[in-house]
Symmetry: C2
Subunit: 430 residues, 2 copies
């Protein structure tokens, strides 16, 4: 049974994603209507500057007054694809107050203010959906929130930033250094002119906060996420990784502690074994591994960014929100009942690969090994290489806390025989 009064959609932002959302809403109008049970109509498009011709969009719908658009009162769903904190936050809040549900692709805002936005949605009995905020078209929010709702998620481990994966993949396959690979990514349009948000891990950290919050039913804010970028990963690190049968990926890792009472969320480069499914994720693709009690290991793979993939996720949410509206219901809101402690990085337990430049003389290994032992960090393997009076020691540890490892490294730096700590890399996925 088809309702004939259309559901009205206000689109905030008409860039790469927004224009694709508008295009699909027009070209696939019949399919969307059939799937929702009522037609959907683009009722307004808020942009920063008018005057630009926007293919397929009636110029009469275009406005620079986003506030007036969300406050019209007849809007059913606001689709926010502006990005950034303001004015997106104010507009979304106003949308709820004026009777609309919201579909957003805004990872930064959700990671920072997800709880307040969910509260506003709940207060007004509206939906807030944001599948597109994490890993583009890859269904992740819905599987975590709904498919795994009867399971206990213990770990989410993923490549959630395409730019950095492109760069690292390039370094891995060509032996290039970071700068060279970044330059190529920029030339090909995979990296922005200012790549900071990607290469310093800010983008991935926002996604980690969102994923951890949903996976563990606990509020995890951006500030709770430990973040380390990948600008200091070197060609030498890749050679070390290869010697261990590993590659290097920038990973977002959300983990429940062994005793189940606390969680951690972090973003940093890490070595992972070549046999791990994430190791073969190439180019700008994203992939997320989820480990849970009953389901075991699941992986979700696909394009993590781009106009069309992100629009696919936005439109999936739009259909769901419209259906809910016709049903007079809302989908699952925030679930933070578990309220677990979010532990700092020091409590993270993992393995480490440490390269030390040391004096090439007897007794150095004994000194170094003693420092590890004193800090309770157990050594798995050590490899010594001598070269012209200098030598290097590569130590791979068993699992130890980040705090213990930091203490170990601090003490190592004080040894006369240790000339420098060339690199420290975590080893994950084993």
């Amino acid at each position: 049974m088809m309702r004939t009064r259309p559901l009205k959609v206000a689109l905030l932002g008409c860039g790469v994603v927004g224009s694709e959302v508008a295009r699909i809403m027009t070209t696939h109008a019949d399919d969307l209507a059939a799937r929702i049970g009522a037609p959907v109509e683009l009722a307004g498009v808020a942009v920063r500057r008018t005057g630009k011709a926007r293919e397929g969009i009636d110029p009469a719908l275009v406005t620079t007054d986003a506030t007036a658009l969300v406050k019209r009162g007849d809007i059913d769903v606001v689709v926010e694809v502006i990005g950034g904190i303001e004015p997106a936050r104010t507009l979304i809040t106003a949308a709820f107050e004026h009777g609309a549900s919201v579909v957003s692709a805004n990872k930064a805002l959700l990671a920072q203010d997800g709880a307040a936005l969910h509260a506003a949605a709940g207060e007004h009995g509206k939906d807030l959906y944001y599948e597109a905020a994490v890993a583009g078209a890859i269904p992740l929010i819905r599987p975590l929130r709904e498919s795994l709702a009867g399971d206990k998620v213990n770990r989410v481990l993923g490549i959630v930033n395409g730019t950095t994966n492109f760069i690292l993949d390039k370094m891995d396959s060509t032996g290039a250094g970071y700068q060279e690979a970044l330059d190529e990514a920029t030339a090909l349009g995979y990296a922005e002119a200012d790549p900071t948000a990607d290469v310093e891990g800010f983008d991935a950290a926002a996604k980690a906060a969102i994923l951890a919050g949903i996976a563990f039913h606990t509020r995890v804010r951006l500030d709770d996420v430990y973040r380390e970028g990948m600008t200091e990963v070197t060609a030498a690190d890749f050679r070390s990784a290869k010697e261990m049968g590993c590659t290097i990926k920038l990973l977002a890792i959300c983990e429940r502690s062994k005793d189940g009472t606390s969680v951690t969320a972090r973003v940093h480069p890490a070595m992972i074994p070549l046999s791990h499914p994430l190791a073969s994720v190439r180019g700008a693709y994203n992939a997320v591994f989820v480990e849970s009690d009953a389901a075991g290991q699941l992986m979700f793979y696909g394009p993590g960014a781009g106009g069309s993939p992100t629009a696919s996720a936005v439109l999936g949410d739009l259909v769901a929100v419209c259906r809910n509206r016709l049903n007079g219901s809302t989908g699952p809101g925030e679930s933070a009942y578990a309220d677990l402690t979010v532990s700092p990085m020091g409590e993270v337990v993992t393995r480490y690969h440490i390269s030390l430049d040391v004096a090439d003389k007897p007794g150095v290994l004994a000194q170094v090994a003693t420092v590890f032992a004193e800090h309770g960090v157990s050594i798995d393997t050590v490899r010594q290489q001598g070269k012209d009076g200098e030598a290097s020691l590569v130590v791979v540890t068993h699992r130890a806390s980040d705090a213990s490892l930091s203490g170990t490294v601090e003490a190592l730096r004080k040894l006369d025989t240790v000339r420098g700590v060339a690199s420290i890399m975590r080893v994950e996925g084993e």
Copy 2:
């Protein structure tokens, strides 16, 4: 806000999956209650034989009268994990009539009678969910039905049977023949005593019907699915595949035609390039590739069977159905509005790898090539190998319809110089 009156769940079947569902409902009761917004209570468990001790299940709940259980009238959700057509179909229908929603893991029933069951659910305003029916714990139904609801799916290509993937993986990695690999799978518990449903592709065909129906918004019944088992795949086929940089997988393939007006669904062994992500799916794991207009290529990977993974999917559905019930709403039902033509196998277009045993004399290749040309099948590569008066020809074609290829093979068999058609294998995933 927690409702205190519990939602009552009737469990039909208490085998490997059912007992795990019951166990998780008990041990994770608080989490389920928090996620649903009301406690859930196991109100009855229907089994074939009582008397067996069932750990963690109150014997007072156990009954052999499944019919009376679903007709009690106070049951909110019936979880059907019996499998098979009857009595499952009658029980599910009765459940709807008596006010319950249904969560099922029954692929055979859904593939055969999905439309009628959805109609019964709709008539009574109840939910019918069945994530567990396809690929165990891997979220597939929900992503296809909801996450991709605003997109246009063109292709679903997957490994949806763990038993056959275990056997083929074993043949690939050890060079074993089919029987030897099957024996190992049986010994390790990956194959049942009667492996017919798996190795002849019946299980995968049921899943293909379900996936195609959801992906294309069109009713696809089990009878519409072309099915070819993998019992005739030989060690020689794997050697041929390796020479082409391929491996062999039993694939379920659901495709929309180029012009968009028809669809096909089929299950058969096929060569796929080693570079394709499905090629590296090992052991009993499942993985499904989905290609859509906007999202591009997505992959979903995980354990495709087993008590715990299947229970995870059942419980995810249980939480969703319970939430809908509290909301007074229902989730998305059957969507078959597109009503596309389901074309027969003859219209499928793909590539082929054909091995012919031929007479070792001049002019054979010309004869063979003429037959291909007469049937409009274009040859990509040919390789000739001579051995003691006999010779073999390996032909790889460009894309051609299955009907054209069948015609070609029929004509080839009539050539005096062709001693036999050693194997015909489709080539997919390129």
